[in-house]
């Protein structure tokens, strides 16, 4: 969509930089298709996020990447006026939120298409996709 994207793109490094660079590829390949795919543990039949090599609930390695609905709720949010990274200064204030997916997992994202101070905890949201560079697509959320 743009070659002028100046904000940080995802830098994969695995959990705390200790695992394989390709590990999270299924997630990012899905966002490029405008789909949300996260890990599901077959052992306890539950979704989790962020990606891990073992399930954080039961430590099983019987995992799969599985599609989710992209629907969820704002579990908590903060409106950023002073970003950590100055490349976001122009965009501030914006909403940085914890999204609780209907399938149970939580992820960090932005809530867009709404005045920041109109956002409320527990409001329903739905995933939207931003093709920020030819390589990367971010998943964001808007009011459902």
């Amino acid at each position: 969509m743009t070659t002028e994207y100046t904000k940080p793109v995802p830098i994969p490094g695995g959990l705390h930089g200790t695992t394989l660079g390709d590990f999270t590829k299924p997630f990012w390949e899905a966002t490029k298709r405008h789909e949300l795919v996260i890990q599901r543990c077959r052992q306890h039949d539950g979704f989790f996020f962020y990606p891990r090599e073992l399930c954080p609930v039961c430590l099983s390695d019987d995992l799969e990447w599985a599609p989710v609905s992209g629907r969820g709720r704002v579990h908590a949010f903060t409106i950023v006026y002073q970003p950590n990274d100055p490349r976001f200064n122009e965009e501030a204030p914006y909403v940085y939120a914890v999204i609780q997916l209907d399938e149970g997992a939580r992820m960090i994202s932005n809530v867009i298409d709404i005045e920041p101070h109109d956002v409320q905890v527990d409001m329903p949201v739905v995933a939207v996709y931003e093709d920020i560079t030819p390589e990367w697509t971010l998943v964001k959320f808007k009011p459902a």
Binding site: K7, P8, V9, P10, I11, P12, G13, G14, L15, H16, G17, T18, T24, Y50, H75, A76, F77, T78, I79, V80, Y81, Q82, P83, N84, D85, F88, E91, A92, P93, Y94, Y96, A97, V98, R106, M107, I108, S109, N110, P116, H117, Q120, V121, D122, I132, W136, L138, K140
Partner: protein, 366 residues
């Protein structure tokens, strides 16, 4: 068997918190505080056989080497802002276990002008799944999330929590070690200060500073023959939870739900026995949540508590009697150490104008 009462703090020294200490090093500040803490305790350097430091940024060996110590038991603790209180607990454990008889705990931050608190540079969870969404500066993001969730679950208001900053500022007015000494604060000042990240405003956040301190602990037996009133460690509890706040099951619960019962149980006291408290306060919201989770205030009622309770050193339940980090400034991971030092000062009866009357039993959260 527990370590209840086995060890006591017998001396301390605080490096006044300032925005920076230009030309000074972290090791130099630690050596200065340690020298003065030893003098305060009446302990000779040769008697120090244990050393506990902040281990996220420093190894113990170079710190011992810098000040010519030859300790037996050494370790670094790396619990970020909680390192001061953790180090104190570990020192008491070392004495109780027989690994050392007299332990020096020292932490410092020698901040340079203009330096923010950085974020980890190596790629990982944060660079992949958080940074593209623009987290707020410093550690603000997670506490902003906690704040909005607490407001939602319990009806807590920003006006209620502004009292934390105001009361602590009153406590710091005559504290020479505090960055904001002599600068009174009103509720409206807090509510009119700019947002860093809603709901957190500037005056509900700590200021990055330089400073540090040192304390000396020794056995209860040895403490009796020293000049200062011993400050006995009756109980301690340490707990840890996910670094990423959004990975916690309840965003409005802190690890104090687990650490406080361990500490109180060891001491044999309940929350209602506590006479005054020194509690971690990087942001008003975390301070509020920790007070709830220790059982000092019922869960969810911290807003009304601060709206109706005088928590200054003159009040019915004094909290952060030196002004805390919010009014003294936060010297990095040495910041939470101030709560140990101020509890020591109060229990020894050396807090001067801000001395609390009931000073026997303090709960410290680092």
């Amino acid at each position: 068997m527990t370590m209840r009462g086995a060890a006591a703090i017998v001396g301390f020294s605080e490096i006044p918190t300032r925005r920076t200490y230009e030309g000074r090093t972290a090791l130099g500040l630690m050596a200065e505080a340690s020298r003065d803490a030893m003098a305060d305790a009446g302990i000779r350097k040769e008697e120090i056989d244990g050393l506990v430091v902040e281990g996220g940024s420093f190894y113990p060996a170079p710190i011992g080497e810098y000040m010519g110590l030859n300790p037996n038991f050494v370790t670094g603790v790396s619990t970020m802002g909680a390192s001061g209180a953790t180090a104190t607990s570990v020192a008491a454990m070392a004495i109780y276990s027989g690994l050392a008889t007299t332990v020096l705990v020292t932490l410092s931050e020698a901040r340079t002008a203009g330096s923010p608190w950085g974020s980890p540079a190596s790629p990982g969870l944060r660079t992949e799944f958080e940074d593209p969404y623009g987290p707020a500066v410093a550690a603000n993001t997670g506490y902003g999330l906690m704040y909005s969730r607490h407001m939602h679950e319990y009806g807590t208001t920003q006006e209620q929590l502004a009292n934390i900053a105001v009361n602590q500022r009153f406590n710091s007015l005559e504290n020479e070690n505090a960055v904001f000494r002599g600068q009174p604060l009103e509720i409206d000042d807090v509510l009119n200060s700019r947002y860093i990240n809603y709901p957190i405003r500037l005056l509900e956040s700590v200021m990055p500073c330089a400073g540090g301190g040192a304390i000396i602990l020794t056995s209860a037996e040895r403490a009796k023959s020293l000049k200062n009133k011993p400050v006995y460690i009756l109980g301690a509890g340490i707990a840890c939870d996910p670094l990423s706040g959004w990975q916690r099951e309840r965003l409005t619960r802190s690890v104090v739900t687990r650490s406080a019962p361990i500490a109180l149980g060891m001491a044999g006291y309940g929350p209602s026995d506590i006479q005054f408290a020194q509690f971690y306060d990087c942001y008003t919201i975390l301070h509020a949540v920790c007070l709830e989770d220790a059982g000092l205030v019922p869960k969810g009622e911290i807003g009304p508590f601060f709206a109706s309770t005088d928590t200054t050193y003159k009040g019915e339940f004094p909290i952060n009697t030196d002004g805390g980090q919010l009014s003294c400034g936060q010297p990095g991971d040495a910041g939470g150490f101030r709560h140990v030092m101020e509890a020591t000062r109060q229990i020894m009866g050396r807090a001067g104008v801000r001395q609390v009357e009931r000073n026997d039993l303090c709960l410290v959260n680092g």
